[in-house]
């Protein structure tokens, strides 16, 4: 039934997203890219793809960062186009998507301020999808409470802050804690929202969010090994959703003292079994990305869902990472590692 009325408001967007998805680089195109000897070759090769001549107005020598920023511009403009076309509840979903980037930006700004970096430099590094008007003013205050009271209270992130206002001094560790606490609140809120969507959007979205949450849980536990964080502190940051969210797992995870114990817990979830497999030069991060790409690929098999947008966004980000990786390998002449990209389509 949900398919009956879906196209009234969202058919166009879905069509556009699927069009974008078809524009993603295929594995044969990746093979072509890896054969390039210089970044100029890469540019020529990319001009035969959907990116077209997006680099043609760049003067001077190409660099990975230029290519990456242009690719990002491309992604942002596509996202904005979709958002401009979106109606409820899709527009809220897309808002939620951008909250994630906002949290990252906030953390970035605060870290930058703490380290007294240049404001414009920090703003450049912020993700454009997580931009909000008062983002630059975050550089003004130095303690979280005043930040919250003056700036953040107006942003949609405000509700996520209520758990972390107790943090008093801002150092790198605390910022990371804030970030993860925010993400926990955000993911829980997002998944509550996702559950209100019509089927099958809710199902697929929840799958994505669950993985997102698990990824964060694992990261928290791995990174907090050998720190003085208490298990209770860790528990506060673990999102309450995902396959690892069941209390028994969480208890075991936060109480793990070394990687081996953690591995045992994570490996008990079937799909996550090879996350700690370090053969083939693959890091945990790579495994995460790979798993996410499978999820994305699966998400595209469903029709009449909003989750395709999330899947597309993630796939495109992966593609940008891939191109950046390839171009970095080319410019640093490390051809032997050039094949470590993750092509999904």
């Amino acid at each position: 039934m949900e398919g009956l009325f879906f196209n009234i408001n969202d058919g166009f967007i879905e069509a556009v997203v699927r069009g974008y998805k078809n524009g993603l680089l295929s594995s044969s195109q990746y093979v072509n890219l890896t054969q390039c000897d210089t970044l100029e070759d890469l540019k020529l090769q990319l001009s035969a793809t959907d990116y077209g001549n997006f680099l043609s107005n760049v003067s001077g020598v190409l660099s990975t960062s230029i290519i990456e920023s242009k690719l990002n511009d491309n992604l942002v403009s596509q996202f904005r186009y979709l958002k401009a076309q979106a109606s409820e509840p899709l527009s809220t979903l897309m808002d939620y998507i951008s909250y994630g980037y906002m949290i990252d930006n906030v953390a970035l700004m605060i870290t930058g301020t703490v380290h007294e970096r240049d404001r414009s430099e920090m703003l450049e590094r912020c993700h454009p999808l997580g931009w909000f008007d008062t983002l630059p003013t975050l550089s003004v205050a130095t303690d979280l409470e005043s930040l919250y009271e003056t700036v953040l209270v107006d942003t949609p992130l405000a509700p996520y802050f209520h758990d972390c206002l107790s943090v008093d001094d801002l150092d790198d560790m605390n910022i990371e804690i804030i970030r993860n606490t925010l993400f926990k609140a955000y993911l829980e809120d997002f998944s509550d929202f996702a559950k209100t969507l019509s089927s099958p959007s809710d199902e697929v979205m929840c799958r994505f969010l669950a993985f997102e949450a698990d990824k964060r849980s694992i990261n928290i536990c791995v990174n907090s090994l050998n720190t003085e964080l208490t298990p209770e502190d860790k528990l506060k940051m673990m999102p309450g959703l995902g396959r690892l969210s069941n209390p028994a797992f969480q208890h075991q995870m936060v109480h793990s003292d070394d990687l081996e114990q953690l591995k045992i817990v994570v490996n008990s979830v079937g799909e996550y079994k090879n996350f700690f497999d370090e053969s083939n030069d693959k890091s945990m991060e790579d495994h995460f990305y790979e798993y996410e790409m499978t999820l994305c690929k699966n998400a595209f098999t469903q029709q009449f869902t909003y989750s395709t947008i999330w899947a597309f966004l993630r796939s495109k980000e992966q593609e940008i990472r891939n191109i950046a990786w390839i171009s970095e390998c080319i410019s640093q002449n490390q051809k032997d590692r050039i094949n470590n990209y993750i092509a999904a389509y």
């Binding site: 107005n57 003067s59 008007d133 008062t134 630059p136 003013t137 003004v140 009271e149």
Partner: protein, 901 residues
Amino acid sequence: MSDESIFRSADMILVQFYIASEISRDCVSVLGEIGDVQFRDMNKNVNSFQRSFVKETRKFDDTERQLRYLESVIAKQQVPITTTSYDDMIRSSTRDLEGLANRNPPTTSQMDAMVEVTGKYEVNVRQMADTYDDLLSRQSDLLEHRTVLQGTRTFFDARLSLEVQHGNSGMNHIRLSSDVDEESIMIEESSDQPLMSQDAESMNNDNANNSEMNILGSNMSFISGTIDTDRFITLEKILWRSLRGNLYMNKVPIDEPITDPKTGEEHYRCIFVIFTHGVRLIGRCRKIVESLEGKLFEVSPDYSVYRRQLSEVNDKLMDLNSVLEHTRERLVLELKEIALEIERWKIQITKEKAVYSTMNLFDYDPTRRCLIAEGWLPKDDLSAVKSALRDVTERCGTDINTVVNVIPTNRTPPTFFRTNKFTSAFQSIVDAYGIASYQEVNPGLPAIVTFPFMFAIMFGDLGHGFLLFLAALTLVLKEKSIARMKNREEIFDMAYTGRYILLMMGLFSMYTGFMYNDLFSRSMTIFKSGWKWPSGFKEGESITATQSGVYPIGIDYAWHAAENSLLFANSYKMKLSILMGFIHMSYSLQFSLVNSWFFKSRIDIIGTYIPGFLFLHSIFGYLCVTIIYKWSVDWIGKDKVAPSLLNMLINMFLSPGHVDEPLYAGQGIVQVILLSIALVCVPWMLLYKPLALKRQNDVAIRLGYINVQGGAAAAAAGTLDSGNSGSISQVGGDDYSLLSTATDNLSAATMTSFIIEDYDELPEPFNFGDVMVNQVIFTIEFCLNSVSHTASYLRLWALSLAHNQLSAVLWSMTLQNSFTSFSKRGVLGCFVVFFLFGMWFVLTVAVLVCMEGTSAMLHSLRLHWVEAMSKHFKGEGYQYEPFSFHDILTIKQDEVNGNIQ
């Protein structure tokens, strides 16, 4: 037929060129001027960046980028670009040797010089433009500063006068802005400051840098500046929160938008003043303002300081303005120089790039001294191309001759119809549906007549047709000046491209309008009517006309006012459209015979054409004959009721042999015979062709050929067996397999010689199941379609009726009302006629000519694409797209125009 090639595609041959690599550029550029060769990609497996001339194309890419940059600066500075004088560089293709000799491409060193010059210009211009932008941003800063100074002044003045009223301020003297003309202060420097007191002077010295102000007795610090209007609220909110309300803010919007010199966007900004206590809080405000991209300017409440600051700013501004003016002049001077040449450069770079990207398709011979190219070429142009290339070789004086070989092949050649400006529009109607298969009958040729005619049947009105004709005539007569026009609007461009179609449509509609006797829905009394109305009748009495003769041509105008005119017109037009439709379909079907004949496919003639022909004619041909027969019989004279043809046709199927209302004697027998012919045709069509193909295949296998391709795929891939025994194309006789004749001819000529065989994909082996399924589909489609397509032609009647009635309604609702006797309306009547005519004419053009015309055109299009072309058109070819400078340049220009829009 050879030079015309509009009925069938021109004979295409695959040609191999051996070009010495040092003259390859000249040769390719001559071929580009000729515009007659479609090159094949010889290095399909080579990545685009690994090709031989990628360095050159990259160089020109860069130059193109530089030119784009220069152009954008030129556009920004609004320097006019000379374009027209280089229009002659976009010359149309020619085969004339002398003409070609005059079109020498610039030498490589010339090109290199040009690239260098553009590079230099780019560096220069970029530098100057950057300085200019820099100065501009400084100018806008200063301007903003001045606005802030002035804006805050009014605010301070108001504040001060308030204090004076309260009587608790002795420090500042009254100075109202009306006392001194602000403008005069800005421009001329009045050195004396008459309103200044010693008191204030000392205050100044103390507080000049702290910018404090005494407001109502308390000392407050303040800052002021500008900020985007839409960010002001955010600023206010954040300040309020972070200072906990301990502030006083004021804002004055700036009326003029301020242009950001970097992005060129216009922003509305406003001036703000913030008062608060203490240095720390001011510092915090400052930070917040800066983080919101506000600009802070130093302002003083004191009048004398204000005067000094203002004069400083003005001085700076004046200096800056003169520098700015100088920079701009120099920049514009440089740009003017570039603007003269840039169009020529662009054309040359485009050509050069096209030459090198074409050369990227070529292959080096093993010694790397020659380039090998392959391309399709119309057979008739071979000698022209050969001699042009010889010419180039001689001119360049190389010892290696350019060799042009014709190579026999089994590839499908591209389809190429030579069109001129008249036929090209009609051809594009067909091409929009599908590109004709190589050498099949081109439906674009008959469409020149049938398309406007079908349109005219629906659009029959002498007046409307004349309007359309006039509009099209204007386009045709002014075609040269319109062609030079740049930035044609999209819809207009469409009308322009189709101007000859419109012209023909107008002419044909005038003819049908004359036949229908319709002139803006009124009838014309040209000849004597064939009907006589009785005289001496009372008003309101119904009268009957008697026939007195036959109207010479078209519909008698006497029908116009008659009560049963609609009945008459309906029956007449309905039958007419059936007749027209049948004729249209029937002759389209004949083309399939022509095609089968041309491709020597006996199976197709026997298996599809003949049964199809019999089926169509025994049912609908018979219907058409009875229509005409019924017209030609005087039923009233015979005192019989005219039989209904629709019932007759239905009963012919439902109760064969039995006739309710006989039309002629022996009707039952005739109908039974016809019906049985039609019924026999169905299994015939269904079975003959697959079985015949199977037999052929079996014979071929028995003769020892393996895997003979009889299926449809074979037609595309060629019909040559992989052995060396020449041609066995007689087996590949499926649907007039496109190549069988082509290869037949070739193999006859080069029976023993070597034939290039490269299949793009392997031909599928003969599969009886597939052929059978295809034939079943074909048969069902043909039989059902002959019914539905005939019915589809009834749209001719429906649209013609609708058009006629709509124009009648429009006439009676508007213009007819204005014609009353003078006594009724008096002089006012003139105005009524004037306005109602205007209304009638505008609606006629907008609704009847434009809207109805479009709809009739679309219906006519459909009748051609679906009803007629499905009878014979395969459309499996691909377009011949020769490498031609003319095409590349004009298409590029169109693209540029499109981007501007």
